[in-house]
Point group: C2
């Protein structure tokens, strides 16, 4: 079976004086994005990786790869203005039509080996595999005026790698963009397809806030 991985590393611009985008920040011995790529490559060495970067990050990334002697094979694709367009660009660059493809956030360096393996094997069987977790906090639903309690046991937090039959995902991404497309599962769902949920792992956080970065550094040290 062909196994593909599309890593989306959008992040913010590399403007002079601006903060370094999270995916390039160093945790442990190398930039965060390299940890993410390495995790998949270690678990599935036969995986074919497409890395989606904003146009103005590509040169910087290549410099980083040289500096850190990072040699995991990746096809680099220019991202679009939206995440939807970025994934679509990456899918268009894959000429094959058979196989399984995982879409993963560049700033999630710690998907568990078991989650990666289960994502590919489940998507092969059912067409999709979306790692989810129960919520640890209560949630509220925001109304036009005020808010109300929502039953947290009816919700799941959604992570990546969101993994799909390649032909199915290509078909999904041929639909016109819709505001409700918040992740890849929602794009496939718009075809009327049922999504398969699998267990995620708590450590597979999206590095978003400074406190996440702090956590990631410590977690790496403990590994």
């Amino acid at each position: 079976m062909n196994k593909f991985l599309i890593v989306v590393a959008g992040g913010k611009g590399l403007r002079m004086g601006g903060e370094l985008p999270k995916q390039f920040m160093i945790i442990g011995d190398k930039p965060l994005l390299m940890h993410t790529l390495q995790q998949f490559y270690t678990i599935q060495p036969d995986i074919r990786i497409t890395l989606v970067l904003p146009k103005d990050h590509i040169t910087y990334w290549n410099t980083l790869c040289k500096k850190y002697r990072f040699d995991i094979p990746c096809s680099i694709i220019e991202g679009g203005n939206t995440r939807f367009q970025s994934v679509k660009n990456a899918l268009n660059s894959i000429s094959e039509t058979e196989g399984v493809v995982a879409i993963h956030d560049g700033v999630r360096p710690f998907p568990a080996p078991q989650v990666i393996k289960n994502a590919f094997s489940t998507a092969l069987k059912t067409g999709s595999a979306i790692p989810v977790l129960p919520l640890t906090d209560s949630i509220r639903f925001i109304l036009p005026k005020g808010s109300k309690v929502a039953d947290r046991s009816s919700y799941r937090i959604v992570q990546t790698p969101q993994t799909f039959n390649l032909a199915l995902l290509k078909q999904a991404y041929s639909q016109p963009y819709d505001e409700l497309f918040t992740d890849d599962a929602s794009v496939v769902e718009a075809l009327g397809k049922e999504i398969t949920l699998i267990d995620g792992n708590r450590e597979n956080i999206k590095i978003t806030h400074p406190s996440d970065l702090l956590w990631a550094e410590t977690y790496l040290k403990r590994q």
Copy 2:
């Protein structure tokens, strides 16, 4: 204004061979629960604290207080079978009827000073103050069969301290228990009262999973 704090430290049993409940685990120089209490006491030294503990944890807690020379004044109250009953027991132990009361999870050691101050001042004005945060991950709604995407921008993660006018909260807790009471805001809401949301802080996590404990240790060291 009378300021009250009820800290609910339910946790799991202290069975022989079982894991130590999170609230008693050592982070930095002392048990987690002591960090939580100290944070409020430092910001609001005039606060009157009621600590709710399961019956079979009280002796252990007293031993810890001696060992760590922990001398922040707390009234200790025996918890009930549910969180609802525990808060109710604590409210019943407060004879006053005027003031503002914050209910806080014992395993949330890092509410920001600004959040604590804002919670009390907002609850004084509007009757309630619930710290919330936007979700960083997508969420899905679980259906009897399958699941569907939910618009995460319409939801907020709910934290503590959930802070209320004391008389209002006492009235709310005189209602019979309902399964929809997942937090204190939902109990007050059942009276038909509108809830005021305030900004929470990302670091104020509920220590639930082993990776949270690791995070807490790291965060403390950086403080």
